[in-house]
Amino acid sequence: MNAVVPHSWLDRLGIPPWVWNPLSISLRAAFEATIVVAVAGVALGYVLAKGRFPGRDAIETVFSLPMALPPTVVGLYLLTRMGGPGPIRNAEIHLFGHPLTFTFTGIVIAQIVESFPYCMRFSRTAISVVDPRFEQAARAMGLSPWRIALLVTLPLARRGIVAGVAMAFGRALGDFGATMIVGGSVPLATTMPIALYNAVFYGSHGQAMVLALVQLVVAFAILLGVSRLGKLQPW
């Protein structure tokens, strides 16, 4: 089931399969989830930062809900929507041939839902603190709203946006409750956090120690990167 790196490499590096399997699944799922979240999150963050329309704050609250709700509740909700009868399940069967519960794609969706608010909120903040006079200057230069967004606003906000994407990636990597519920105990859906839980539950203390340490180092690295982005001089 390891589709990323051949086993011979792993043996040479000395990385056992009980580390590499969940690690590769975690990385692949989080990567796919973050691609989607980056595009949609920045876009929505831009709309929320710039738009003045009724219900703007309500929309931000709705899309931030996964941050406030227990991951188990989010997972259960997704499970019932994706697995139980309804339009979402029908769409899945239409597109993929089967419902997405207990599949790899399913947990990617769960991680998208869980990490989306981070990217959206970071982006909104970063975009809203861009000096509006840059945009005024751009308007005076005759640039259309699209070009202003792409050439002026987003580049000026890029530190915060990158930080938001990094946090979303970290959140996707670290998701436990929602992934576990939507993924079940299917091997293809065993991410690092779930593998750690299993290791503790079944008493494999040596494995647990290694798995925990790897995740701690990764989370640390992401956090350091994000705070480094924040510390550098903004324009």
Partner: protein, 239 residues
């Protein structure tokens, strides 16, 4: 001849009320007055960044704002150039790319950069083309901002306290550059300042502002300089 700019607008913001009317025939007009008199607000209205409560604005005879007829042409469509007090150059682009971004009368990246290069030369900043805006001094930055304001072939150029953030020596030096480049380009201009000396040195017409009203208009006689032979800098040659 159609005046370059006709303004007759009123706008309230909180307790402050602006109510002004004036005409700019051609050349460089200066809005002069103390801080808070409404000069920058007037520029923002002319640029279309803010809408007036009542009144009309026309640039070269084209009505761009008419409150009674609900007309408001967007800033992008107004063919203006703007120069800000702190330049507002995009920090993530080179000087040349910054000016090139404003060029709208030609297409194609190379053509735009060529036009940008010409304007940088006219303001005396051609050696800065590949520099990053963050590495420029105040005077250099404002030269580039001036080039950017003019590079888009505007019908009218607006300058909002372009020299106020610079120290005295640089300010005097750039005064000549501003006036020279603008007059030789033939683009009518409106410049805002609270410095009396600057107003006298730069303006063909000085429009005095106080507390949201125009309190007086004065034309300044300038001795006609003998035309330098064509081909030398400042001869006003323009393709």
């Amino acid at each position: 001849m159609t005046p370059a700019l006709e303004v007759a607008v009123a706008r309230s913001i909180g307790e402050f009320e602006l109510d002004v009317a004036f005409t700019v025939e051609s050349g460089l007009s200066v809005l002069f007055g103390p801080s808070g008199a409404g000069k920058s607000l007037t520029l923002a209205l002319i640029a279309g960044l803010i809408r007036p409560d009542t009144g009309t604005i026309a640039i070269h005879g084209d009505v761009v704002t008419d409150c009674s007829r609900r007309i408001h042409v967007s800033t992008q469509q107004r063919r203006i150039g703007m120069v800000f007090q702190d330049g507002l150059l995009l920090p993530h682009r080179s000087v040349l790319d910054n000016v090139a971004l404003a060029v709208r009368q030609v297409r194609g990246r190379r053509e735009r950069r060529a036009v940008a290069g010409e304007w940088l030369q006219r303001v005396g900043a051609e050696e800065l083309a590949d520099r990053q805006p963050g590495s420029l001094s105040g005077g250099q930055r404002q030269r580039v901002a001036l080039a950017r304001g003019l590079a888009g072939d505007p019908a009218l150029v607006l300058l909002d306290e372009p020299l106020s953030a610079l120290d005295a020596a640089v300010r005097r030096e750039l005064r000549d550059v501003i006036r020279g480049v603008i007059i030789s380009s033939g683009v009518p201009a409106v410049l805002v300042t609270h410095d009396a000396e600057e107003a006298e040195e730069l303006g063909d017409v000085v429009i005095a502002y106080h507390d949201g009203r125009v309190t007086g208009t004065r034309s300044i006689e300038r001795p006609v300089r003998p035309e330098p032979p064509p081909g030398t800098p400042g001869s006003g040659e323009r393709t």
